[in-house]
Symmetry: C2
Subunit: 279 residues, 2 copies
């Protein structure tokens, strides 16, 4: 049944009173140095880091998003570190693997085998450039979510996404297509829509009030908290991701405590803004 | 110096008299069954398969392309199987990892660390939807090639790539952008342009006569050999990929011999067609 992911996300958000998604992007260049000294290998240091971050932030987050690149850059042990990190996430929280895959049908189904089969994650991100073929194998899993890159948060995202066609920017065409895929296939379709483009985020929300949005770009990328809050006051849920702003709030022994503070602060800021908009 | 990749590719093509790139997409559902019985684990069976395919096809191929999805779907051992397969490719051949990555700058640089650093491959594929940020970290490696998805071979590729803007389809805008990235950064930029869209392949070739093209879509996908040959008669080199048509030419004990025949046949067909067009 189509709403299983939505139901679980809604429950996770209610229990934590939070729309915060903690981005687990463990960057070896930014991890607290003492973790290496204590743990010897990069893999062990990352696992210890992730464990501490998850434990500290869990009261303030509804979800965790693991960015595949940071695990792949660990080499041989990357897959296992990613898998073990997914295993550390408390039951009841949502987890996503942000891998932005996108390929022809027979290849996309291998990516789906890996992310939804072997890693058994709740959702992932998919790039739209190759069309429905790239998303379909993921959307055959009825209890999972596929967040399609619609309007990304990065500086050069305008180069393609803002090109105008038939009076609409490319990202709006992508959103329309993704909504069609959602109609045709059992899985849940969400949109990636960055907080760094507040007008466009709200344009998408207006057109698609019932679609879950994964919103990057708050924190280190400087996105608009107000637009995010406005997008959140809708049937469609939002997942507001912060990675660097939480993970690297401190590089000292108090890194987990400071990460918890940052997650808590983000939750409060968002909840207040959402409350103000809902009134 | 910018042309290092081009130089190596040209030499590999001259020595093998071939523009054939063998796609190493080892699909566990299609591997000859006796390999499992002989080798016990999926990883060992894939390694034995790849080794035999590489040895048998090397006289007829200038390059090998490893599709990341098929390795990731092996789980924990995927990275090592991919790395060991790269190590089996004879010196003098080009190898690419087809991973179609595309992400914001700090993430893209982790993907580049993995593909160009740890795996040390000659080139890779990158998805353009997020703009230059996604390609730039790869293009900082001056001796490598980055093949940007321009016009892909799959059935649903029209959904976005054919949308018209300012009198040009989206894929032509992507090609223009990618050519700008090539100007700005030290690495070599190539295009992925499928043989299943012959008119568009030739349109791109006319606009970009000096750009290397990675051409999928011949063989199992039914692309046009004639258009490929025409695209090949240009300063810009072509790499013509075939995966399934070579790898699974036979599922019996003669799989490697039949793969060699298929690669040899593809080389002859292409060389004859190129020769005819060059006259």
């Amino acid at each position: 049944m189509k709403s299983d992911f939505i139901q679980r996300l809604r429950t996770a958000q209610t229990i934590s009173s939070s729309v915060v998604c903690v981005g687990l992007d463990p960057d070896l260049d930014k991890l607290p140095e003492f973790l290496y000294q204590e743990h010897g290998s990069a893999a062990s240091a990352v696992l210890a880091f992730n464990k501490a971050i998850i434990r500290a932030t869990a009261p303030y987050a509804c979800a965790y998003k693991l960015n595949a690149a940071f695990y792949e850059s660990l080499g041989s042990c990357g897959f296992d570190v990613l898998k073990r990190t997914l295993g550390m996430i408390p039951k009841g929280k949502i987890h996503l693997v942000d891998a932005k895959r996108g390929d022809i049908g027979n290849t996309a189904s291998k990516y789906a085998d890996s992310l939804f089969g072997l890693l058994n994650t709740d959702g992932c991100t998919v790039a739209p450039y190759m069309g429905m073929d790239a998303a379909a194998p993921f959307l055959m899993y009825e209890d999972r979510a596929v967040f399609i890159l619609v309007r990304t948060s990065n500086p050069s995202s305008d180069q393609l996404q803002s090109l105008m066609m038939d009076g609409l920017p490319l990202y709006a065409h992508v959103a329309r297509l993704a909504a069609e895929w959602a109609e045709a296939l059992p899985g849940t379709v969400g949109f990636v829509a960055g907080a760094t483009h507040p007008a466009e985020l709200l344009h998408l929300r207006k057109l698609y009030p019932h679609t879950p949005f994964l919103i990057p770009g708050v924190g280190a990328q400087g996105g608009s908290m107000d637009a995010v809050a406005q997008a959140a006051t809708s049937d469609g849920l939002v997942l507001v991701n912060s990675s660097r702003g939480i993970l690297y709030a401190s590089s000292g022994e108090d890194f987990d405590e400071m990460a918890a503070n940052a997650a808590k602060q983000l939750r409060e800021t968002l909840n207040q803004a959402i409350h103000a908009h809902a009134d």
